[in-house]
Amino acid sequence: MRALRALLVRDIRLAVRVGGGALMGVLFFLIVVAVVPFALGPDLRLLSRIGPAILWLAALLATLLGLDRLFAMDHDDGSLDLILMGQAPLELAVAVKGVAHWLTTGLPLVVAAPVFGLFLNLDAQAFAAVALTLLAGTPALTFIGLIGAALSVALERGGLLLPVLVLPLTIPVLIFGVAASQAAVADPEAFGTPFSILAALTLISLVIGPLSAAAALRLGLD
């Protein structure tokens, strides 16, 4: 337990420091949300109708971009080998790294979403709904991304491979997240179903993500 707690604290500290990239996710989120109205035009009614979708897309892309720092830096300086050889089960260590990643990348997105919703002319009910669905869904994005990050850890010229592998698996999360956000605004009774499925997807990914990522790390780093 102590080892896992130390790993969690180490990862959070590293992410928050200057080269860590924790708040880069929020910055990218802001930039995407700012760029979309340039492409769509300033029609406020249109923006408020698709606002939840834009916020969800921006959150997805921001999470994707932060995923490669999950294992790559540890692989470069050798600490990944120490984690593999350590006493804590690899699945738990990988899950702890995922939790640290979500705390430093996903949670700031959840906090920032209501603020950025103002750019997209969302009313209070809408951006509360988006923030709630992001809170339920961003852990799924991180933990599904764990799989892709582990598969591409040893590649130097990975490039866009990680998003290509991870995006098809995160499509259900996107679908139900946006469905829940739209339902909260338009038809509150229909909020429960997509939100429950979103929460279920998060819980499933909390199990499948670390298991697959640990297997990928073990087999990929012989």
Binding site: I147, L151, S152, A154, L155, R157, G158, G159, L161, V164, L165, L167, P168, L169, I171, I208, S212, A215, A216, L219, G220, D222
Partner: protein
């Protein structure tokens, strides 16, 4: 290094087995059981017998011409049945004949991922040497079948539904399957060492297998524009036999096509890896000199 060691081992086995190959391929000799070891299942024996790549190459060399002939005959019969003999649909008219290509391609796209999942288990669990070869070569075939399914479906949808594409659950999940095929092929091309790439691809294949029940039951779980299941359903097929029989013949033809192409591709991949090993050895020898 890994591939080089494997190649050396198989050439050692070759010497003792070329004699049996001359007399035709025989059953693999029973492995000596350790005291108290569980008996091997019957199914594992024939597959294990073909773990030797040379044996597998010999098998495909004998079997491939027959497979090609069988595929050609099946396609001949199937296409004739589909385009001349089968009656037109009471509602859709002649355009229903696209179904004879669209449905078998869809079935094969999903069956291919299932076969890939079994191969992935073969790589990770049973460490069968040819499992990752089977996995690697099946991916482009599955992607091609899924692509044919999407394109023919789109062309069929235009006269029937009035649109080339709609984002309902069935079409979206098949598109996601296609994207996952492409992602898998991308993963193979990015990793240099075939053995390590095989293990990574095996994990990705097993994770992506969760999409298969979603595709199959998408028309039941969601309100889709795509029609519900007509063949593989509780209560038996709901298609008239005059159309069902050509459909099943075409499905058999597509399956034979897949088996033929897969066997040929596995031959190529084994030979490709041998060439790579020889090149590595050559480079090492040049270095040492």
């Amino acid at each position: 290094m890994h591939a080089a060691a494997a190649a050396v081992k198989t050439s050692g086995q070759n010497r003792s087995q070329t004699a049996s190959l001359d007399r035709g391929v025989r059953r693999a000799p029973r492995p000596r059981k350790a005291a108290g070891a569980a008996p091997r299942t019957y199914m594992a024996m024939p597959l294990i017998a073909y773990a030797n790549p040379s044996r597998f190459l010999a098998l495909t060399e004998r079997v491939l011409p027959w497979l090609v002939g069988a595929t050609a005959i099946a396609f001949g019969i199937g296409l004739y049945q589909a385009f001349w003999v089968a009656p037109e649909d009471y509602q859709q008219g002649e355009t229903v004949r696209i179904m004879f290509i669209h449905v078998p391609a869809a079935w094969l796209g999903m069956v291919c991922w299932t076969i890939m999942s079994v191969s992935a288990l073969g790589t990770l669990v049973w460490r069968h040497p040819l499992a990752d070869v089977a996995l690697k070569t099946a991916a482009p075939l599955g992607a091609a079948f899924t692509f044919v399914c999407l394109v023919t479906g789109s062309l069929w949808g235009r006269p029937m539904w009035g649109t080339y594409w709609v984002w309902d659950a069935r079409l979206t999940s098949v598109l996601v399957l296609f994207l996952m095929y492409l992602g898998l092929i991308a993963l193979w091309r990015t990793m240099e060492d075939p053995t390590r790439a095989g293990r990574a691809a095996a994990i990705l294949t097993l994770v992506g297998a969760v999409n298969l029940p979603i595709i199959k039951f998408s028309v039941e779980w969601w309100n889709t524009l795509h029609q519900k299941a007509s063949v593989l359903r509780l209560g038996g097929p709901s298609i008239d036999p005059a159309i069902l029989v050509p459909l099943l013949i075409m499905a058999m033809a597509f399956t034979l096509l897949f088996v033929t192409l897969h066997a040929a591709a596995m031959r190529n991949e084994i030979l490709r890896r041998r060439v790579r090993t020889l090149r590595l050895r050559q480079a090492q020898a040049a270095q040492g000199a």
